[in-house]
């Protein structure tokens, strides 16, 4: 039987705010109904969940500023959220706070080909910038694999990269101007249509700050001229080592592909099962290498890369330059994450970075970890920049399997740090890795980060408990998670 809408359960601290939020965002811009709020309980990482106290859906900068000011006035925490595709629970709602969603701010304000830039609202998807710029012969270079859905605001918060950041860099290299709402509710304009700005590089520091320094409400991005030619190569190897050797050889030869991606046998198997991508049979590793630029340069590079792959033991290399053929090669790679779901009931996507020269050794150690634990690990990664995405497979119906998979996943991160790498290359820290920050940074490093955060957010209301370890989140000893997650214990979040 239908029940009436749940109006209750809004935390007491927020009930006074609701009428004011409605004044700011309009009736339909504030969600209080429980079942609606619950829909926002997680971002792309569903492992962490919490029902937001209230959800606000502003449509203008002024509304964002008013909502944040209201939060500041009442000392209420707020969490910004874009498309909710993040994989580090960076947009995990606060049970006693406001979830500030930018999904209704998605106007492409301006495409300015003369200045080779675009001005967009934060809710615009990454791919929509390219769609809008394409008629002018331009595109937006950063291309996270969720580009058709992830929002520019989210990209700014996470400093998103993508397969092609090997050559073209991350979001931070493509943002010229930001309009932000600070945690006190002040609207600040940084930069503009020129590259860079005078004074401290606040744009550079804001990008990748995971919503802890404010909310970007308008973004001016650089547009990149679409290359004259793009060629995608698919090269198959009988071992991961041989594939890794080819990557090293390509880099050493002074060739800078726009992307070098690698998949191991298990990942290939999954992709084949899901999309029948037709990768060469018997491959223990495939490389997807993309080269772009002026035709005269690309043609020579294709030849060179093909030779280098052959010299490293590739038994088959295919090249494609048409959009359809290239898409076919990418299909397997792009489907790999979701495809793994077809060969395993559950899996953890890890994100870590190692120096490229340590790839071989680290992959060997991961294989050993997998063999010891009996937990299968599929490897799909951005080989060009050493960004690993091990997929740790397990059966969630099997008791204890999830914990063992977590252990393997955590051990892989330890390997990354041990080899001078990073605990995250593109997914961000969020809640998920906040407690792992001490593995990579000293206490002094972390307090320095905190000094910076406090400069923007002295009251600690902007996306609290993200990015940096806190006792509330990680227990007394940072980095060691003992027992139940405090948010779970207090009934504010649940894990599964």
């Amino acid at each position: 039987m239908a029940t009436s809408a749940h109006q209750t359960n809004i935390p007491a601290a927020l009930t006074a705010l609701v009428p004011r939020l409605r004044e700011i965002c309009g009736e339909d811009g504030v969600l209080t109904d429980l079942s609606r709020r619950r829909v926002y309980e997680s971002d792309g990482l569903t492992y962490h969940r919490a029902t937001p106290g209230v959800v606000a859906l502003p449509t203008t900068t002024a509304q964002v500023a008013a909502v944040v000011s209201l939060c500041a006035e009442h000392g209420v925490p707020y969490v910004p959220r874009g498309a909710g595709t993040g994989l580090s629970a960076g947009a995990l709602p606060h049970a006693d706070g406001v979830l500030l969603v930018t999904s209704r701010m998605r106007r492409v304000v301006e495409i300015d080909p003369e200045n080779e830039c675009a001005v967009v609202e934060p809710g615009v998807t990454n791919l929509d910038i390219t769609r809008a710029a394409a008629p002018h012969g331009y595109y937006y270079a950063p291309d996270p694999s969720s580009q058709q859905v992830c929002s520019v605001g989210g990209n700014v918060a996470e400093n998103s990269g993508g397969a092609h950041c090997l050559k073209y860099g991350f979001t931070s290299g493509h943002v010229r101007g930001l309009e932000i709402v600070t945690p006190s509710g002040e609207v600040v304009e940084l930069g503009g249509k020129a590259t860079g700005a005078h004074g401290y590089d606040l744009i550079g520091a804001f990008i990748g700050s995971e919503g802890t320094l404010g909310v970007a409400t308008r973004v001016t991005v650089s547009l990149t001229r679409s290359p004259q030619k793009t060629v995608t190569l698919l090269s198959a190897f009988t071992s991961m080592d041989a594939g890794g050797e080819a990557v090293g050889a390509i880099i050493a030869a002074g060739v800078l592909p726009s992307a070098i991606e690698m998949m191991d046998a298990l990942a290939i198997e999954a992709a084949e099962a899901a999309v029948a991508c037709g990768y060469p049979a018997g491959a223990a590793a495939v490389l997807v290498v993309e080269l772009d630029g002026p035709t005269s340069e690309v043609d020579a590079q294709v030849e060179r890369v093909t030779e280098l792959c052959a010299a490293s033991g590739s038994f088959e290399t295919r090249t494609a330059s048409g959009a359809v053929e290239r898409a076919l090669i990418w299909k397997g790679r792009k489907s790999a994450f979701a495809a793994v779901g077809r060969i395993s009931p559950a899996y953890i996507v890890q994100d870590g970075v190692v120096p490229r020269t340590a790839l071989g050794e680290v992959l060997g150690r991961i294989a050993a970890l997998s063999a010891e634990s009996g937990i299968r690990v599929a490897n799909v990664f951005h080989a060009g920049d050493g960004n690993l995405h091990p997929l740790v497979l397990f059966d969630d119906a099997e008791p204890g399997a999830g914990e063992r998979a977590e252990e393997v996943s955590g051990a892989i991160l330890d390997l990354c740090v041990e080899h001078g790498g990073s605990i995250t290359g593109e997914h961000g820290v969020g809640v998920d890795k906040a407690c792992k920050m001490p593995r990579m940074y000293s206490d002094d490093d972390l307090t320095t980060f905190d000094l910076f955060r406090r400069a923007f957010d002295p009251a600690g209301i902007a996306n609290p408990d993200k990015l940096l370890p806190t006792p509330r989140l990680c227990g007394e000893r940072p980095g060691v998670r003992t027992g139940v997650h405090p948010l779970v214990e207090s009934g504010q979040a649940e894990q599964f």
């Binding site: 550079g204 520091a205 990008i207 002026p294 020579a300 990073s422 290359g425 820290v429 910076f452």
Partner: protein, 393 residues
């Protein structure tokens, strides 16, 4: 000042030669390594000493004079290079001369894709002043190339941000914050950079800079090509396009570039000019930021007493005033830029008479309140290069 005499630091009396915009430091100290630098700054904090760092000393006349300067930190001993060629990454001490770094990397067929703006500078100085040269177009500016930084805070604490891998989003990117910070937030001890392979060949296609309309048309035609320039410079009286690649691959690219720019009076060189990217060492120097399409207008509309250099696609134009240019001329020129929306202008270097005349070197800097908050957080006592930066920071 005895309290500053800590282990691992050489200390001496400051002289005129050490002056920062005319302000002579009481002491100069040279720490031998990062730890010594940490001890030195901790000691400075204990004594309340004001501090300004110095690398190659090539930009001591940039920015505003410090309000107070008890201690100059000389980073020249922090000179070391740890190059990992296979990873296209290098980590260097702040005091390392850029020229030395360039030689080391070139030996391995690599480079830091940064065009120095001054001769004789160090890595730390380049970072602290932050401004990037013409070829930022392709590889990004210095702030895009720095992937990690070790810095010493005002309280002497040594802290690191980023690391030695290119792809890394763990924590705040404080390296960017300190790039261009003029040492007002901390002292840079070392930095890690991503590198690029040295291109096998370079071509410089240049055409005379004629009317504004002519230049705008040439730039529009160039934008429509897919030649992928490494730099597009308004270089004195010429428009200059740099292409990097293989000798064979460059042939059609040069042809296409010439078609776009017009072949009348065009020259194609096979290497960069000797003074490539260098800014004038004397006279008042301003840096203008504007929407790129407005640069030809800005550059072609200058009087004889000021010269415009610029990186067109970045929207950066340097205004080099002839030495001795009166303050009111500078002021008028700055005002003319600043009154147009979306245009900002900052004096990188003001001649003493310009400074003394009270010309505002910064103009309105968006986000100043946040910058002040950051400064207060990192240097609550305002002892690091006080007054050198925007808004008296």
């Amino acid at each position: 000042m005895k309290d500053l005499d800590v282990e691992g630091v050489t200390l001496w009396k400051g002289t005129e030669a050490d002056a920062v915009c005319g302000v002579v430091p009481d002491r100069v100290a040279r720490p031998k390594d990062t730890e010594a630098l940490g001890r030195l700054l901790a000691a400075a904090r204990a004594t309340g000493a004001t501090v300004t760092p110095r690398g190659g000393g090539t930009a001591l006349d940039w920015g505003s004079p410090p309000r107070s300067l008890d201690l100059m930190v000389d980073t020249s001993a922090l000179s070391w290079i740890d190059h990992n060629a296979g990873d296209l990454v290098v980590e260097v001490g702040a005091g390392t001369p850029l020229a030395e770094l360039r030689r080391t990397l070139a030996d391995a067929g690599q480079r830091l894709s940064y065009d120095p703006l001054r001769v004789g500078g160090t890595v730390g100085g380049a970072l602290a002043t932050g401004v990037s040269g013409p070829r930022r177009l392709l590889a990004g500016g210095l702030r895009d190339l720095v992937i990690g930084m070790t810095l010493v805070r005002a309280d002497g604490v040594v802290a690191r941000s980023g690391g030695r891998v290119v792809k890394n989003v763990a924590g705040y990117d404080l390296a960017k914050l300190h790039t261009g910070g003029y040492g007002t937030l901390g002292v840079i001890a070392s930095a890690a950079f991503r590198l690029h392979p040295l291109p096998p060949a370079v071509r410089v296609v240049s055409v005379p800079l004629r009317s504004r309309e002519d230049t705008e048309r040439a730039l529009a035609d160039l934008r429509a090509t897919t030649v992928v320039p490494a730099a597009v410079e308004l270089d004195r009286d010429r428009l200059c396009v740099v292409l990097e690649g293989t000798a064979e691959g460059l042939v059609p690219r040069v042809e296409e570039t010439l078609r776009a720019l017009g072949e009348d009076g065009a020259e194609v060189a096979e290497e960069l000019p000797e003074d490539w990217g260098l800014l004038p060492t004397e006279g008042t120097l301003a840096r203008v930021l504007a929407p790129p399409a407005e640069l030809p207008g800005l550059a072609c509309d200058l009087d004889a007493d000021v010269r415009g250099y610029g990186s067109v696609p970045a929207g950066t134009l340097y205004l080099a005033f002839a030495p001795g240019t009166p303050a009111d001329v500078v002021e008028k020129r700055l005002a003319a830029v600043r009154h147009v929306p979306d245009r900002t202008a900052v004096l990188l270097r003001a001649e003493p008479h310009v400074r003394e005349a009270g010309v505002d070197p910064w103009g309105e800097v968006p986000g100043l309140s946040l910058m002040r908050a950051v400064k207060d957080s990192f240097d609550p006592d305002h002892r690091l290069s006080p007054g050198r930066f925007a808004g008296g920071i």
